[in-house]
């Protein structure tokens, strides 16, 4: 069955360490932002390993504010559509 509805848009951030990715996820969740960790997409670092953090793009301003407050600097971000 194929669901025919609007596709969601996500913002995905890469980080320079697993520690920073987990710290970001922890901070986002503690402030009520729905965040999950995903394998880091190739667009965020080619063949790099590691994890990335994904939120709904509508939460991007809140997330960036939280990153600033906890002094976590992502290494870049991309937009991603669900499939």
């Amino acid at each position: 069955m194929v669901l025919d509805g609007p596709r969601r848009v996500y913002r995905v951030w890469g980080f320079s360490s697993t520690h920073d990715a987990i710290a970001a996820e922890d901070a986002l969740r503690s402030e009520g932002v729905g965040a999950i960790t995903i394998p880091r997409p190739a667009e965020l670092g080619g063949a790099e390993c590691g994890i990335a953090v994904r939120v709904l793009d509508t939460d991007t301003p809140r997330a960036e504010d939280i990153f600033g407050r906890i002094e976590i600097r992502p290494r870049g971000s991309i937009l991603m559509m669900d499939r």
Binding site: S16, S17, T18, H19, A21, I22, E48, I51
Partner: protein, 382 residues
Amino acid sequence: MRPIYLDNAASAWPTPQSVVDEVVRAYGIGGNPGRGAHAMAVEKSREVYRVRRETARLFGALHDRDILFQPGATQAMNLVLFGFLRPGMRVLVSSVEHNSVTRPLHRLSQLGVEVDEIPVDDWGTVHVEWVEQYLRRERVDAIVCQQGSNVSGALQPVADLADLAHEVGARMIVDGAQAGGHIEIDLVALGIDAWACSGHKGLMGPQGIGILYLDPSLDVEPLTYGGTGSGDAMSPADPHERPDAYEAGTQSFALTLGLGAAVKLHAEKGEELRATESRLARRLFRGLSDIPGIRILGPTDPEARLPLVSIVCDAVAPDRLAFELDKRYGIATRSGLHCSPSAHAQLGTLETGAVRFGVGPHNTEEEIDTAIEAVATLSREG
């Protein structure tokens, strides 16, 4: 009969059940923290993050990424000494350090680092004014000092030394192996730039893991290079970011969780644990002081001591005293030089060594009294 364990200064025992439970729990989770994004691997990464954060909180570090897990305090001291000191630099070190400091510095001196020693008084304590005088004459890049002695029990004035170091633009590097868990520690308030701590002594965690704190402004070259699970895997260089830069290779998740349980225990009950062991150590100190022919090493002021008591007995050599305590009374102590010949040299016991009683919060007054009575009997028998 349960042995009377008074070797807590070497390694705490019994290990708290919460520590054992966490070590066992670790093996129920698959994956490798930082390697992979599946649920169990990420769960492990979250656990490591939690332990790091709670450790930072316990010791007053501003950023949890400045807390680095190492195989032990020795490895941690090697990392900071070899990673910071360069040929031509000068370091001032106390004359009562453990081999985990003296041996790396000996090697570094062969590589061109100037190493000068700070004298101590008859009780093994560093005096700030002596360091002040030295710093008027010489330029130094770092002061290295233990927080507390594993032989004399003397607590050192590391906060004052840190002030002096910073006044001349030097770094304060502290070996906290024997102090962590036994005294309240706020690393930022103390002004410490680098601090190493054992997991298995005062903290009562598992053997095989320790803590290194590095001030955010301190630039230290890693000791180990390799995979970190993050950063640019194609780069030939390790990442610069903490903690990954200092934790190459798969770390022990089980020991990390065990350490986490120990940290949690101290966060929740540290004051009570410290009060108990301090009270017992004072009882032991007083009791041993009353025995004729027993000399206690280190400060007489209980506030200036860690909960350990090292003695020499006029009538019985330390090795024999420790042997008889073990065989006749089931009392575990440690004789010899305690990997600290420098300290024993300063305290006048290099030829004989001493017998060390390391008190822990699981000891009882009855055990302490039995130990005092046993020493009195053995001393009397000669």
